[in-house]
């Protein structure tokens, strides 16, 4: 009983600590089981959610890209850019191979939204482009309270941009792989066969040269080495190469010197030395928002048909409501 009384302040402190920490843990939602749309605020229709899920399935399988939408009520006291950054990296939006995710967060009760791109596509989906997409597709509907229409328009516009970016991988003319898609099949085959043929020819020539040299050596060569000694060099070369025991030329090596007597032990060194200051690099991390962009997908690595695995990351940036 006495022990319990002594420990009770400790338990109280622990309980307070846990309750204080709870709001932070509860703030970030888990990635939904459908992977692409979270509608905690209840503002999106089933049709829009279905569109987002189906289009994303196709997009991810083809390119590894994802366009994810999260509609929440509140941000738990965080700034929307911090919230979006944290959610992006917690969920691992986009593929780990290409970091090509795009996340749209709507905070309905806070009357705000923000879009952020993964660092594999941030040069294309820069702040200006994201702002344009938001202004042209989401802002008017959002201001009117028609969140479903705004999200649908934004999603389809972003999807169109993503398809433009990835071009032939999605079956549409695009920017990233346009060079390959603009060549015909015949040219593509030629582009592959010719270098291969060149390599094969070089290999054949090299092998022929080696065979010719070896044959020349085994026949004793031409007049290069003189008549009587014509087989000498070839015999030496072949003998050295083929003999299991190598014979050394010259005088035998000198005998090893006698062993030295052992040294007397040194006195121990004193610790000290003020000249150096051990400093390794700090672990770093991100100054705002907490987590570094080491993306984690929910529920382990999931792979799409195109061989991509989820787990993309973002470095921050993006655009929101102005």
């Amino acid at each position: 009983m006495k022990r319990l009384r002594r420990l009770s302040p400790v338990f109280l402190a622990l309980a307070l600590l846990l309750t204080a920490a709870l709001p932070v843990w509860a703030a970030m939602p888990e990635r939904p089981s459908n992977l692409y749309v979270l509608d905690e605020a209840g503002v999106l229709s089933d049709s829009t959610e279905r569109t987002i899920i189906e289009e994303n399935d196709t997009l991810f399988n083809a390119t590894g890209a994802e366009i994810v939408v999260a509609a929440v009520d509140f941000l738990g006291g965080k700034e929307i850019d911090d919230y979006t950054y944290r959610l992006f990296n917690d969920w691992g939006v986009g593929s780990a191979e290409r970091n090509n995710g795009l996340l749209l967060v709507l905070a309905i009760e806070e009357d705000n939204y923000y879009a952020q791109a993964g660092y594999g596509i941030e040069d294309y989906f820069d702040g200006a482009k994201l702002q344009k997409l938001l202004d042209e597709n989401l802002e008017d509907a959002f201001a009117a309270g028609d969140y479903d229409t705004g999200v649908r328009k934004f999603f389809l516009a972003a999807l169109s941009e993503m398809n433009s970016y990835y071009g032939s991988e999605t079956g549409t003319p695009g920017l990233v792989v346009q060079e390959e898609s603009s060549h015909g099949f015949g040219l593509a085959v030629l582009g592959w066969i010719v270098p291969m043929l060149v390599r094969v020819i070089i290999a054949i020539v090299l092998i022929a040269v080696v065979i010719a040299v070896v044959r020349a050596i085994s026949r004793g060569g031409g007049g290069g080495y003189g008549g009587a000694g014509s087989g000498f060099w070839s015999g030496m070369l072949v003998g050295r190469m083929t003999s299991p025991r190598r014979q050394r030329w010259g005088a035998p090596p000198p005998p090893p010197p006698p062993p030295r007597p052992p040294r007397s032990p040194r006195p121990p060194r004193r610790s000290g030395g003020f000249g150096g200051y051990g400093g390794g690099r700090s672990s770093g991390g991100f100054s705002r928002g907490g987590s570094a962009p080491r993306p984690r997908s929910s529920g382990g690595i999931s792979r799409g048909g195109g061989g991509f695995s989820r787990g993309g990351g973002s470095r921050g940036g993006g655009a929101g409501r102005r």
Partner: protein
């Protein structure tokens, strides 16, 4: 103790004492170089100078839009000049200069304020929708890059370095050797 031993002891003591500031300077230099490497390539492969260049490019685009309205309001010309001044300050902060990072931080911080002031001036005028959209997009670009700059691991590395300067032995010699803090781009010391 005879004279020779005394001289030898004094020389040894002198060398040990000299090694302290020399070693501290060498360590500080090596640590500073590690931090400056993060400026060029941080833990995510981001280069702060590229982000700064992108912000300057967006600011220059803002000036291009503003030039159309230069005559409409005197305040626009002044606001444009402020933006141009900070762009020049950034461009003149050459990497071989000792304080180039401090100057870049000052230029970058000033650029944010100047760009916001210019866009506020322009938005108060009867500008076209297209120009209004262009202004929003350039500001969004600047804010987006600034967000990435602030999240860069360079800032944490700089803070760690500055923290080390307050501990022995660097704290003892930093004033004597002229070792200063490294600035951060996220507004924290």
């Amino acid at each position: 103790m005879n004279k020779k031993n005394l001289i030898g002891a004094l020389v040894m003591a002198g060398m040990i004492l000299l090694s302290l500031p020399l070693g501290a300077a060498h360590s500080a230099k090596a640590l500073r170089e590690d931090v400056e490497d993060e400026y060029y390539y941080d833990q995510t492969g981001y280069a702060i100078y590229e982000g700064l260049d992108a912000r300057v490019a967006a600011a220059e685009n803002l000036i291009t839009v503003a030039e159309r309205y230069e005559d409409a309001d005197d305040g626009v010309e002044d606001a444009m000049e402020r933006v141009e001044d900070y762009i020049t300050m950034y461009e003149n902060a050459y990497s071989w200069e000792e304080d180039h990072l401090e100057r870049q931080v000052r230029a970058n911080n000033g650029l944010s304020e100047a760009a916001e002031a210019l866009s506020a001036r322009l938005n108060a005028l009867p500008i076209t929708d297209r120009d209004a959209q262009a202004i929003r997009e350039q500001l969004a670009d600047m804010d987006s890059e600034q967000d990435k700059i602030q999240r860069s691991s360079y800032n944490d590395a700089a803070r760690d370095y500055n923290e080390k300067l307050t501990h022995f032995p660097l704290s003892l010699f930093r004033g004597f050797l002229g070792i200063g803090d490294i600035p951060t781009f996220d507004g924290t010391p």
